[in-house]
Each structure stands twice: as C-alpha cells, then as structure tokens.
Symmetry: C2
C-alpha cells in the first residue's frame, strides 16, 4: 500500500521503515515473537539493523494493525490472543464475510469463480498429499479470498477484511487443523462458490455462515484439545467453551 513495486519484484531497495514493519509483522504472525513479549525500541532497532526513527514508524503501523500495544511506561508488547478474543474476532468476521459474499454474488465475474470451482473440486485429493498438499490448499484459499475481494470492489469492506485476516493468521497457528477438517472446509467453500456463480446472494451468505460456524467450532475444539494435552486444568463445566480472561 505504501511502495508500489508492481512492475518488478522488489528490486527497489525498500525503505528501512518498510523492512522493519514487514520483519516484525512476519515474526509476530509466525509466533517467533510470542504474545505478551515485551519489546524495546533500541533493542529491536539494533536487532533489525535500522535506526529508531523508522522502527518507531513500523511499530506505529503495527499498533494500528492491532498486533502490538503501547505499554504505559516501557516499550511496547505483542498483543495477547485469548479464547474470548477469538470469538469476538469471528463475530466481526461473520459480519464482513457474509456481506462480502453477498455482494460478490451480485457483482461477480462468473468466469473467475468457475476456475476456482474446478480447483476446489480437486482439494480432497490434494489433501492426501501431505504437507505440500496442505500448503497448496492454503494458496487456494488465498486465491478464493482475492477473487472475493475483486468481485466486491468496495475498498472499505476489503480493507476491513484484510485486517481480520491478519488476526486469523495468528489464530491458525494456535490450532493447526487436521486434514479431515480441511476436507470439510473445502466442501463448504465449494458451496459458497456455487452460490456466487449462481448469483444467489442469500444462499452465498448462509453458506458462509455455516462455514464460519464450523470453522470457529473446530478452532475452539483444537485449542481445547491442545490445552488438555499440555495438561492445563480445565473445570469439567467449562470444557465446551472455556472462558479465559480477556485482555484489551
């Protein structure tokens, strides 16, 4: 959004602030910088190899993204992800994605989604091919999201969606999905795509609603199982939807 390098692939030396932003953002999304980690300006500036000025600009952008929060006195810290915040994020996600697929169904270029449809049909087979298949599947999801963005046109809505996807990327790391769930998800996506091709906004929205419900349920269950496997004590009454204290 800042530096247009559309013509050629990042031949531009890239500004220091942009480098710092991308590196920090990447490290936060990959979990290298764990939630709650306290960061100091000088320390990070040295590590990344830029001076404090561009680093501060990068941090300002991360704060705007909601990936980092300014601490009162000392430095800044990577924001926490609580189970509550996952539910909250999905409430926003639902509002945005239902609207997005609705508009996409009204305005779509059928051709683009017909191509996507073919690819999603091969997903179950794809997911039998181990880790590389899973990666290929995730690129497919990205192409799907890009097709939606292109069909929706609306920059405000697309911007809000991008923000949500940033946080989703962090959550995905928390609960790596099993391949059974991924096959289900592919089928759910196929339904949404069919509705969009058919130009049926209402069906597209309802299919997306179903998908998001399944997705949230799966994520929460995976997190819960991870917690149990690590031996965290969870009271029996809370096993279905464990309530963890909320930051923010």
């Amino acid at each position: 959004m800042y530096t247009e390098t559309a013509t050629m692939g990042s031949i531009t030396p890239l500004r220091a602030s942009e480098r710092a932003y991308r590196q920090l953002r990447g490290e936060i999304l990959d979990g290298v910088l764990a939630p709650g980690t306290g960061l100091l300006e000088v320390e990070q500036a040295e590590r990344i190899g830029v001076s404090r000025t561009p680093l501060r600009e990068a941090v300002a952008r991360l704060i705007a993204d909601g990936l980092v929060a300014g601490r009162t006195g000392r430095g800044f810290e990577v924001t926490e992800i609580s189970v509550d915040s996952i539910g909250e994020l999905y409430e926003l996600r639902q509002a945005l994605e239902l609207q997005a697929v609705r508009l996409a169904a009204e305005r779509r270029d059928p051709q683009a989604f017909l191509v996507l449809r073919e690819q999603f049909l091969t997903a179950p087979e794809l997911l039998l091919h181990g880790d590389s298949g899973v990666r290929r599947y995730y690129t497919l999801i990205e192409e799907f999201e890009e097709a939606i963005d292109a069909a929706v046109v609306n920059p405000f809505l697309v911007g809000a969606l991008r923000s949500v996807r940033t946080h989703l990327a962090r959550i995905r790391r928390l609960a790596r999905k099993n391949s059974l769930r991924l096959r289900q998800a592919a089928a759910e996506h196929l339904l949404i795509i069919d509705a969009i091709i058919a130009g049926d906004p209402s069906l597209a929205a309802h299919a997306a609603h179903v998908h998001l419900h399944m997705s949230l349920t799966s994520v929460l269950r995976a997190i819960e199982e991870d917690a149990l496997a690590r031996g965290d004590r969870i009271a029996p009454s809370e096993t279905v939807y464990p309530q963890i204290s909320q930051s923010s």
Copy 2:
C-alpha cells in the same frame, strides 16, 4: 487509546505527535483541509508548531485511518470523497451496524437503553429549537452509539465501527440534513432501541437496515440537490444515483 487521561480533563501537556494528529484529524473532518489538498511535511510541521518527527507519526496514523494518502513523490494529500465511496462506506456500515445491534439486543443492559428511549422520545420537540437543538440531537446519537458499543463488548467490532464513523463525520458535512429527515431518523432510532430493549436481535437488525437505507437515500439526495443548486451539470439519466469517478 494512546494517552489515558481518564482521571482529569487533559491536564497532561499531551505529546507533540498527539497534538499534531488531533489537529490535522480535526481539520480534515471539519473540512478546513479540503479533500485533495496537498500537504508537505515541513510546511505542516511549521504551521502546527512541532518538528517533522512527531508530524510524520501523526500522518502515519491518518494514513492508517484512511483520511490521508501518501503521494508517490511529493508529500501526502487528504483523501477524496466520491459519491461511489459513500455507497461503499454504507455497505461496510450496514454489515457492521446490523451485527452490532443484533449482538446488543442479545447482551444489552436494558436499563441503559430505557434511559436512551426516554431521551429519544423528546427528540421531535428538541428539533424545533433551532441549531442548539440539532447539536443536542447529535450528542444523543453519540450516546446511542456509545450504548451500542458498551452492549456489544467486542473490541474488534467496536474498532471497525469507530473507523466507519470517522468517515461518516466527513460525509455529514457534505450533506447537512434537514430537520424533517432528522425527525424521521429519531423515529427510526427509537424502533432500534425498542427492539434492543425487547431483546429481539432480528428485529433490531431489520430496523437498523431500514434506518441505513433511509439515511443513505437522504444523503445522496442532499448531495445531488447541492450539486444542482451549484449549477453542476448532471445528465438526466444519472439524476437518481450520479456516478462519479472513484479515487482509492
């Protein structure tokens, strides 16, 4: 969100970057800095009375808000508001506000909305009292929005709503509403409030949908009338929804 001055009213000297941000933001929202205005760092830093470093931080936040866009070569500029972008903003607004009132109806504290209800009942009377009445009415709207935010709880959703409201503030300036429309709007708000009090999410969402539709129609008509009054040539076929070229 940055500086907590909850205890006392802005006794804190306030950081230079924060001052620059608030001043620029205020001037953009009030239209003092018109859309399309080109801004230069040195020039603005001098005018506001801060050095370039905090000014750049302020501009970075404004860019994140979508109020300002970086120009390729020279400086930055206040973003344009096209008629298309108003429609697009309302598409996002609809997604967010319908979800918000839905959740508010589920989670609300009835007491807060009963108080609001009483106040909104007096709105038609209030709006007979000229300009001060109109200002009082707008504070009422703000209280309504705050009550929704409090009832929704969800920080992600509330954050997205705040962003939308920022852009709405600019649009309101473009098309100052007549008092007839404001009385209608008050009645529409009352319906939403009643639905929330009744704990009926679906009714609340539908009432909000109606309100937004009326609001958008009114805004577009007001802008069109302004354009005609200024003598702008609009082709007859475009009178209902004039299509103006889109920035962003």
